[in-house]
């Protein structure tokens, strides 16, 4: 598959000289569903604005379909945006908002009627055609924003937290719908969210960002199973993150104990982050365990129980289908392949 959008060494600075994007490089493949995932303020919207053309990077190249488009204005880019804050036109009703892009391109009236109708059905707003957008709820406005961008069938659609204002049920439905449309129309979606579950379920590939730089790019399974650092591990699902040191290949020490693991290639006695997923912590009888702790709290989470277990050096988060009573002393154990060793991140 070809790359439809590439960012090469993009640096963005605002007036105060603070770097908002610190040398971002990224390839987005044609017809791919890419998700930018990261905490608030990490630069997701800024990256989208670079691709859409609203922001000129201080340095670096924006490549679209093999051509450098740094100097191409937004209206000449085959890209549409679902804005984080909707930016609907208050002087137009729902129908005309959605039809706006088609009218600018002088699409024949008959086709406008058909395509806008399709969109209204898709975002479940039939019967709202004549409403002014100010009289819609936040979630309805968000759906108009999605329809207004999607109706143009751009090569690349940028979606900036497009489902943020919707309730859980509607959000799940829209997730499935959006994914279906993306595949049916063979569009490239660049999707921004800070909901890791949304990212994992929808994407072909995930770009995890933090603090203006890319932490990891990979498929959802890669990102989940092989996070490259403690930040990614923590952001994608909860994790127990401990300081450890690598005694030699496949042997790590943390909490004053030595554990077998499967990671190699670290320096002798190198300090590392040790990451263990809550569902990978096994509860064993205290007598036979290397590590013990006292159950502090138990919360029922639907499928499993979440327990906080206080083991002197670390409070463990543990997911288990079996609950232990609060106050009991339990033992903790891990399989070697569930102990993930990661280089300390620079910060």
């Amino acid at each position: 598959m070809e790359n439809i959008v590439s960012l090469k060494n993009i640096i963005v600075e605002f007036e105060d000289g603070e770097q908002i994007l610190k040398n971002i490089s990224l390839d987005i493949k044609d017809k791919e569903f890419v998700t930018f995932l990261g905490p608030s303020g990490c630069g997701k919207t800024t990256t989208l604005r670079i691709i859409a053309g609203f922001l000129e990077p201080k340095s670096g190249d924006v490549i679209f379909d093999g051509k450098r488009i740094n100097d191409v204005p937004p209206h000449k880019r085959n890209v549409n945006t679902v804005f984080q804050r909707y930016a609907l036109f208050p002087h137009l009703n729902v129908y005309e908002n959605i039809a706006f892009g088609l009218r600018v391109k002088k699409v024949p009236e008959k086709e406008i009627v058909r395509r806008v109708g399709e969109m209204l059905e898709l975002v479940n707003l039939m019967g709202y055609e004549k409403r002014t957008v100010n009289r819609l709820s936040g979630g309805q406005q968000q759906r108009v924003a999605i329809a207004r961008a999607l109706v143009n069938h751009p090569k690349v659609l940028l979606l900036d937290e497009p489902l943020g204002a919707l309730d859980l049920k509607l959000r799940k439905e829209m997730q499935i719908e959006l994914r279906k449309i993306q595949q049916e129309l063979e569009l490239t979606f660049v999707y921004v969210t800070h909901d890791q579950e949304e990212a994992l379920t929808m994407s072909d590939s995930i770009v995890v960002m933090n603090n203006g730089s890319i932490q990891q790019i990979g498929s959802p399974t890669d990102i989940y199973n092989e996070p490259v650092n403690a930040f990614v591990a923590d952001f994608i699902g909860e994790s127990n993150i401990l300081n450890g040191s690598m005694l030699r290949d496949c042997l790590v020490e943390f909490n004053g104990r030595q554990f077998e693991c499967v990671d190699k290639g670290f320096g002798k006695n190198e300090t590392v982050d040790v990451v263990i997923r809550p569902e990978d912590v096994k509860i064993v009888p205290a007598a036979s365990a290397k590590l013990t702790g006292i159950v502090e709290s138990v919360v029922f989470k639907g499928v499993h129980y979440e327990m906080i277990i206080d083991g002197v050096d670390h409070k463990w988060t543990v997911h288990s289908t079996k609950a232990e009573a609060a106050g009991t002393m339990v033992g903790l154990a891990f399989d070697p392949f569930d102990i993930h060793i990661m280089k300390k991140s620079e910060e």
Partner: protein
């Protein structure tokens, strides 16, 4: 309930300075010197139809020119960085701080047959042109005096238009000019209508400007009314009748204008 008392001064004000004068005008317009009802003065107004037409025509032209000048000015102002807008706005408003008469006198000396403009033109071998005492001079005086009243409402509406409107329009394929006509102009309609009102109403009823810059030949309704009350044509009944007709004309024009103003406009 108590709150009602707070509006009392305002009500008194309204009654004394708005309702009573209106009633008096109505009374004078429909009565003669002996206080008897008559339609004479109202029907006499018809004699001055040409002055009405001239007033409406000149103030429409002045309003149109104001709009054409003020729109880009207000737009540029509204897109400046926030901290510069205040200063620029003050510069635009500066002429308003000068006395109205003084401002208009200045134009008399500029436009006069031996005035500065003709003098300068004469130096390059042109003219002299007849500038003063023309209807053009009257329009110029109106535009000059009332331009700020067009800029201000336009600016205050445009200033509230978020930059995201430009981005959304551009994102959907609009060039800069398409954005202006498809989004910005429709969004500034409330400013356009109130600007037109604020220029047209004082322009149509002005009397100093036409007197000073228009000479005797460009009499406007305002002059006519003034003559009936203060001038040698003294006839308050006719003056009241003319005022009443003028008021009706303005009301009709404003009602038509307001049809273009979407009532539920909320700007983002």
């Amino acid at each position: 309930m108590k709150l009602k008392y707070f509006s009392a001064p305002y009500l008194v004000w309204m009654v004394v300075f708005i309702v009573v004068p209106l009633l008096m005008i109505g009374f004078f317009a429909f009565t003669n010197e002996d206080g008897q009802f008559t339609m004479k003065y109202i029907s006499d107004v018809g004699q001055y139809a040409n002055i009405f037409v001239r007033s409406i025509w000149l103030s429409l032209i002045a309003t149109a020119i104001c709009l054409v000048i003020a729109y880009p000015v207000a737009f540029i102002l509204s897109r400046m960085e926030k901290h510069k807008q205040g200063t620029m706005l003050m510069i635009v408003m500066l002429p308003m701080w000068m006395n109205f008469l003084l401002r208009t006198y200045a134009w008399m000396t500029l436009l006069g047959n031996n005035g500065i403009i003709n003098h300068l033109l004469g130096m390059v071998g042109l003219g002299p042109f007849k500038l003063i005492n023309t209807s053009g001079a009257v329009v110029l005086g109106m535009v000059y005096n009332y331009l700020p009243f067009m800029i201000l409402p336009l600016y205050s509406v445009m200033e509230k238009i978020d930059n995201s409107m430009f981005e959304a329009a551009e994102d959907l394929g609009c060039s800069y000019f398409q954005t202006l006509f498809r989004v910005i102009v429709p969004l500034s309609v409330p400013g356009i209508t109130s600007g037109i009102t604020m220029v047209f109403v004082p322009a149509i009823s002005t009397f100093i400007i036409s007197r000073m810059l228009g000479g005797g030949s460009n009499l406007l309704i305002g002059d006519l009314i003034e003559m009936q009350f203060l001038g040698n044509a003294y006839n308050p009944h006719l003056g009241a009748a003319i005022s009443l007709v003028l008021m009706v004309i303005i009301l009709v024009i404003m009602t038509v204008m307001n049809q273009f103003d979407p009532d539920d406009q909320v700007l983002m």
